[in-house]
Symmetry: C2
Subunit: 282 residues, 2 copies
């Protein structure tokens, strides 16, 4: 595995590989790798000649009061995991190199941001699409891999690629779960032992929602109420349910009657960490 | 020459050519071709294995009350001229195909737009960078060619490519002029015979400004006043000088003292057409 830190070097490597007729799979990350990231690499290796993983904690997608400076970082461990997973190029640019030009043009997400996590993170997805536009241009992938755990990010990246005709295929990868059903996340380590035992309730609540739909329930409000009631019961008083939402997938439009492909998504605020999860039902 | 109208077909052609190791030069236009466009093709042919020209009158860059519907079009003549100039692929997408997705992400130019022509065309350059982003993705050029006559467009496209790391080199091409010095423009045919005789005054006023700088004048206001006075004298009462500006090149920043590379730019409103011109002085 080769580590590249300069944009210029990354671009030249990618250009050489593409000109030679090879395909590139791209896995963008903010580092602190876990099994979810490694599942993306595994998919990317299956479909492409070369795999680039980027590790870049993007300041542009953190709001005021968010945890940009304390975001977990472990470069040494990340390098080891990436190499073991079979990554060919680990791209770790500096903030100075990535944002060396004065900004005179802005990318803004004007739809799909007033729901799920976007509602409480103004500007977050502007930062996400800006850094991904740059990374796509620098790595020129045939395919880029995104976990479905952040379903809103997947929906917005899909829109970015469609609306601006990026020559890249966005490949969704299923959420990786612990045997308990708990979705793998960097934040799971922050949970207290007691909360960790409660946390599988998120996925179980989603399975309950799915079951209702499969049994014929079409009223979104009924499903939301049932899922929320289940969460409240399972999690107890000290845990706050941020949201339970049902939206169309992948466009994330509001709906009152369930019809076609939908996503049920939940966010729960434990004392030491906020967790999200979702399930797609067709 | 092959004409392509579908985005998907354009993208697949470009992919095939790039994968085979060939280079692509790209000349984006709104059609109604003249010698200025053909000079871009000539440069593109010199540097690249294949040349793509696009003809697309982009509704997004026309404001309310601007001439989108009456913008001059002559597909038959354009095809003939493009073929004679040696264009390999003429890409003529439809508006429906280009903008088939609902817009949920916006590109906005937030700097460099309050001067020159941008001051009176709000949103114009948002439309320009949006369509160019799409066209760059669809044609994946190694180099793209822009005339310096629209110096503000060149500056903003340069910023687009730098700030978002597009893997494309922007090549500036000098303005093509008639023997009188008049810059070639689709709008010249709209001039009355009398105005056509007066119009070379634009370039002569720029040469006067350049002469002042070379002779040591550094006060931008003095140069602007002298150029404007010359234009007023030469053009007479029925012609309105829209602006005379001196800015840094290529960043188009305001300056009071001339230093380094600058551009002197003028816009003049004749009764039947508005003309622009500029000169770069180092």
């Amino acid at each position: 595995m080769r580590t590249i830190t300069l944009k210029q070097e990354m671009y030249l490597w990618a250009k050489q590989v593409k000109t030679a007729g090879h395909s590139i799979g791209f896995v963008p990350t903010m580092g602190f790798l876990h099994e979810g990231h490694l599942a993306l690499v595994e998919e990317a290796k299956r479909d492409n000649d070369y795999v680039i993983m980027s590790i870049f904690v993007n300041p542009l997608q953190f709001g005021q009061g968010e945890d940009y400076t304390t975001y977990p970082r472990d470069e040494k461990r990340d390098k080891k995991l990436a190499e073991e997973a079979g990554v060919d190029i680990l791209f770790m640019p500096s903030v100075d190199d990535m944002y060396k030009h004065k900004k005179s043009i802005k990318l803004m997400v004007t739809e799909k941001t007033d729901k799920l996590c976007g509602a409480t993170r103004p500007g977050h997805f502007d930062g996400v699409v800006t850094v991904l536009t740059k990374l796509f241009h620098l790595t020129t992938p045939n395919r880029a891999y995104f976990g479905l755990k952040d379903v809103q990010q997947f929906a917005i990246v899909t829109a970015l690629v469609e609306e601006f005709d990026f020559p890249v295929e966005i490949v969704p990868v299923d959420t990786v779960r612990e045997p308990s059903g708990l979705a793998i996340s960097s934040r799971n380590v922050k949970l207290t032992r007691e909360d960790k035992q409660k946390a599988p309730a998120l996925f179980n609540s989603l399975l309950l929602g799915k079951k209702l739909i499969i049994e014929g329930e079409t009223d979104a409000n009924v499903i939301i109420k049932t899922v929320r009631h289940y969460l409240d019961q399972q999690l107890g008083e000290n845990v706050e349910v941020d949201y339970v939402e049902i939206l169309t997938f992948p466009y994330l439009e509001d709906l009152s009657e369930v019809n076609g492909k939908v996503v049920i998504a939940v966010a729960v605020r434990f004392f030491t960490a906020r967790l999200i999860d979702n399930i797609i039902v067709d």
